[in-house]
């Protein structure tokens, strides 16, 4: 039989082959759809913005790891996802240096200070975005009109300030002012459905999030279809509320997460000072994730049912 050395290890001896890297690059791939829509509607400056935030995010992570003497793991793809997501949440015409600041904050304050991949409680891209909103409020609300490149209000702001509604088809296709990646509901849906199909996103979160907003809009006498299609809701529901790291691990917990985020959006949009509420709703629910996890531990097989 010859002299061989056999490897011994504890079972199981086979693996699915799935990897963190593959998940991240699939998410990044799906994000390319809304990115393409953004570039189509807003032109090359949008593309430049995406490239800038992504490079800045990856570099920030690498520098952070280098400074702390940790192995450099930017190839896992998570910083790429954060970079693209941040860009999709920014006005297409934002000065690039501000976008870089946003990327640095996203990665450094949103992720690395907690210990890096998997350890951050809040969605890093949203941390970056909220920082920019507070720091550069004017630039962060200067919206380009896709038709003529002039500046104008977003559909949500038009609705909130002047009570003007926008055509559903325009909203769905994305031919409206807004953040780089939030305009085309169609492209976001395609990317989101791909991730659900591949098992990288749990349908429960977008379904409960969007469902809650639709139902509450209806109950409160607002236009549910407009509110589903306008603003960053679609992008948030499929790509940010579904971030694995910062959302609950239990199925029931994910539904609670979606409902909670939906309630926050309605509160902010209908009663708050901001026309939009998606970023805050997700960040607020991120804060609840640990307690949701604790309260929704599933009943195990054979556990005595207590009354």
């Amino acid at each position: 039989m010859g002299e061989y050395r056999f490897l011994t290890a504890s079972s199981p001896h086979i693996h699915s082959g799935e990897s963190v890297q593959r998940i991240m690059f699939n998410v990044a791939g799906a994000l390319l759809l809304p990115t393409l829509a953004g570039v189509y509607f807003f032109g090359l400056q949008a593309l430049l913005l995406v490239v800038t935030t992504t490079l800045a995010a990856v570099l920030t992570e690498a520098i952070f790891q280098k400074l702390r003497g940790r192995p450099i793991t930017v190839w896992d793809g998570s910083a790429v996802v954060t970079g693209i997501l941040l860009a999709l949440n920014l006005p297409p015409g934002l000065p690039l240096w501000m976008a870089v600041v946003g990327s640095v904050v996203s990665i450094a304050l949103g992720k690395m200070i907690y210990g890096g991949l998997g350890a951050n409680p809040f969605n890093p891209a949203l941390i970056g975005r909220v920082f920019l909103m507070v720091t550069f409020p004017v630039e962060m609300t200067t919206w380009i009109n896709p038709v003529d490149g002039t500046t104008g209000a977003t559909p949500l702001a038009l609705m909130k300030m002047q009570g003007v509604s926008t055509d559903y088809v325009k909203l769905f296709i994305g031919n409206v002012g807004g953040s780089l990646g939030e305009t085309s509901a169609l492209m976001i849906l395609l990317g989101g459905l791909y991730l659900i199909y591949r098992g990288y996103v749990d349908w429960r979160i977008p379904a409960s999030y969007l469902g809650t907003i639709a139902v509450l809009s209806l109950v409160l006498g607002k236009d549910p279809i407009f509110h589903l299609l306008a603003g960053g809701l679609m992008l948030g529901a499929f790509f940010m509320a579904t971030d694995m790291v910062t959302t609950p691990v239990t199925r029931l917990g994910r539904i609670i997460f979606g409902i909670g985020a939906g309630i926050f959006v309605v509160l902010i949009r209908f009663y708050g000072g901001y026309p939009e509420g998606v970023s805050f709703s997700i960040l607020l629910m991120n804060a609840f994730t640990p307690i949701i996890n604790r309260l929704t531990v599933p009943r195990i097989y054979g556990e005595v049912k207590t009354r």
Binding site: F6, L7, T73, T250, G302
Partner: protein, 438 residues
Amino acid sequence: MLKTFKGGIHPPYNKELTKRKPVERAKLPKLAVIPMSQHVGAPCEPVVKVGDHVKVGQKIGEAKAFVSAPIHASVSGKVVAVEPRPHSSGTPVMSVVIESDGMDEVYEGVKPPKSLDEMTPDEIKNLIREAGIVGMGGAGFPTQVKLSPPAGKTIDTIIVNGAECEPYLTADHRLMVERPDDVVLGLRAIMKATGVEKAYIGIEDNKPDAIKAMNDAVKGFKGIEVVPLATKYPQGGEKQLIYAITGREVPSGGLPMDVHVIVDNAGTCAAIANVLKTGMPLIERITTVTGSGVKEPKNLMVRIGTPVGELIEQCGGFNGEPGKVIMGGPMMGVSQSQLEVPVIKGTSGVLVLKKSEVKLFEPMPCIRCARCVDACPIHLLPTYLGKLAERGMWVEAERYHALDCIECGCCAYVCPANIPLTQLIRLAKNRIMASRKK
């Protein structure tokens, strides 16, 4: 809708290697190494000494405790050693080593018993115990003990486990295709021994020929039903099987008998049938020798005590450089460091993975994707248990039900970060049990 359970995974099954290969008789081992512990419970005491001549079917290990099963010679020849020898569990076990004389002489005491119809339940149970029959699916629980529930526990259902959900393995599959009547005869003996009138034979639907053969074989026997099950790992896990077929949940920390069920492997039933027909105790079993690392994968009828190296030789030897030799399937089997370890009563397969197939991964941080949560058939939170085990938080791990883990391996299989979750939970279980004993 096929019956199944919640959770589980769909690994590549790789059964094509052997599922159409009829069972071949393996060569007699030159040297049979027969461990005195091949079952759950107390080890046997050797009743032969060096220099004795033994025959096939002769008792060589006596079971004194209730939870135990005697052990018999699988070849005729001379006892050349009674000493601890390597065992598939990883620690050496007292073994009787018989040098085969090649004659295969049967022991005089091996005679067919009276027919099943004439036997009382106690006689059947005694026959099963004396034949050394234990669960042949891997765990090796003495069968007669299962058939003797303590006072106050009632049994109303027998389930024959023909799921064979471990990838690669086809031993039970071939058995059910080739000897379905034996499975039914053994099952009838179990039903009579326990006075139970309802029995199910659960088979995954990736074995349509076995389902058909068993369906034909149960015709005319009242109360026996073949149940096709969804092909999903671990469908053959005792708790998953009971849930799939009866909808009952074995209580945490309990046994199938707590929900009035006994589960026996198809191979166990056939072994009982063999005793009923010939009187020959359990001295051989079907073992699938398979994997990309063997030249010619086969299903072999193997004498207990045959070193796995001899089986691999009979399958044409290694195909390329072997990386891992596993006793059992890839999900729950035990990897071996040497080829001297013998086949025991619970050895359903010998799997050889090529070196190129055995990959070592560096674990990455958990990204809380919850694939492990979705895959766990017990509905545990493996990611939490893994983190608690890494931090040595055994009390918290127990609170999160670590002890209910069946170590099926689903969580580690799906983890994209390659965190050895099953292994960590196993560690937690060991620590919790150790602290309880103190």
